[in-house]
Subunit: 294 residues, 2 copies
Amino acid sequence: MQIIHTPLEMQECAMGLKRAGKVIGFVPTMGFLHEGHLSLMRIAREQCDVLVVSIFVNPTQFGPNEDLDAYPRDFKRDEALCREAKVDFLFYPEPTNMYADNASVWVEEESLSSVLCGASRPGHFRGVCTVVAKLFNLVQPDLAVFGEKDAQQLRIIERMVRDLNFPVEIVRGPIVRESDGLAMSSRNKYLSPEQRKNAICLRKALDAATRMFRKGEHNVEPIRSVMEEMISAVPEVRIDYIEFVDEQTLCMVNRIDRPVLVAIAVRVGSTRLIDNGVLGSMSGAHKVAVKNAL
Amino acid sequence: MQIIHTPLEMQECAMGLKRAGKVIGFVPTMGFLHEGHLSLMRIAREQCDVLVVSIFVNPTQFGPNEDLDAYPRDFKRDEALCREAKVDFLFYPEPTNMYADNASVWVEEESLSSVLCGASRPGHFRGVCTVVAKLFNLVQPDLAVFGEKDAQQLRIIERMVRDLNFPVEIVRGPIVRESDGLAMSSRNKYLSPEQRKNAICLRKALDAATRMFRKGEHNVEPIRSVMEEMISAVPEVRIDYIEFVDEQTLCMVNRIDRPVLVAIAVRVGSTRLIDNGVLGSMSGAHKVAVKNAL
């Protein structure tokens, strides 16, 4: 595994790989890797000749009051995990090399970004789109794997690839969960043991929604009420949103008459956690299971 | 020469050329080609294995009251000129194939775009940046040639390439002029014979500025006054702006103590014309002349 520190080196390396006819797979991360990231790497690894992983805690996607400086980092551990995952190139740039002082060009998604997490994190997805566009241009991937846990981010990146014609296939990686159902996240480490136990209410509420839907409840409100009640009953957990949106357009729906994304964001103490599932169609996890079974 | 009508075909073709190790040169245009465009093609032709030209009257860079529908078009003539210029691929997409109905991702430059033409054409450079980003992703050029006549556009594209890390070298093509000094433009055809004669006042004013600067006048205001006076005296010509800005940052300057772009925009009747030159350094034309002489 080769570690690359500068954008220029990364791009020259990628251009050489392209000329050599290699299929480049890419997993962009903010580091502090967990099993969720590793699952994305395994998905990419299977479909490419050369696997590139980036670790970059992107400052432009953090708001002024968000946890940029506190965001957990452990490069030595990440490096070892990438080696185990048979990563070929680990791109680990400095922020000063990624953004000029007078940087003035931004990639902005103006429809999907206005709801869900975008509503409470202005500028977040602009930072995400911009850095992903930059990384695509530096890494030149044929395919890039993004996790379904960040459901809105995934749809926005898919939209960006479509609207700006990036020659990149976006592959959806299913949510990876702890044994009790908590979706893996670098932010889970902020939770106290008590909060950690309480945090499984997100998955429990999603499971309840799935059960109700399967029993024939296709209206959103009764399902949302049950979810709200379940989560509100848990100490230290405050709901930011529980939304039912069209799986593609992220427009609000009242009935589940098409694939609908159920997205939850809460605060557990001061830690923001998100989770989601899709009703009305095979979930990504099921799709992958089916695909692997074929 | 092969004519390509769809974005998908263009991208597949480009990816194949990249794998084959070809150096791709690119000249994006809005068609109605003139000697200015052809000069850009010659510059690209010298530096690449495969020359791609696009003809696309990009709707997103026209304002609601601008001349999108009236913009001059003559594909058959353009096609013949491209053949003569030894273009390998002519990309000629339909607007409906370039933009989805619900397109929502835009590339925006937020510093250089606010002055000069950007001030009077809100959204124009957003449309330009977005379509150029799309074209870069579709054509995969190693180098792209942009004309110095559109001085602000050129700087904004250079900035976009830097800030989004496009693996594309931007080559500046010097302004090509009619024998009497009028900068070539597809919009010149809108001019009546009388207006056509009057329009050379732009070049005359720029020449006056150069003479004053060479004689030692390094303050902007005396030069601007002379230019204003010269242009104002010409019938049917109304000044939109005469600006002196830093050649790189497009920030206004009062003294010419570094390379300074002198940019003019006027209306001749209802036709908007622009022209420019650089004081305080070799102009692009000089640079190319020197380079060709080496």
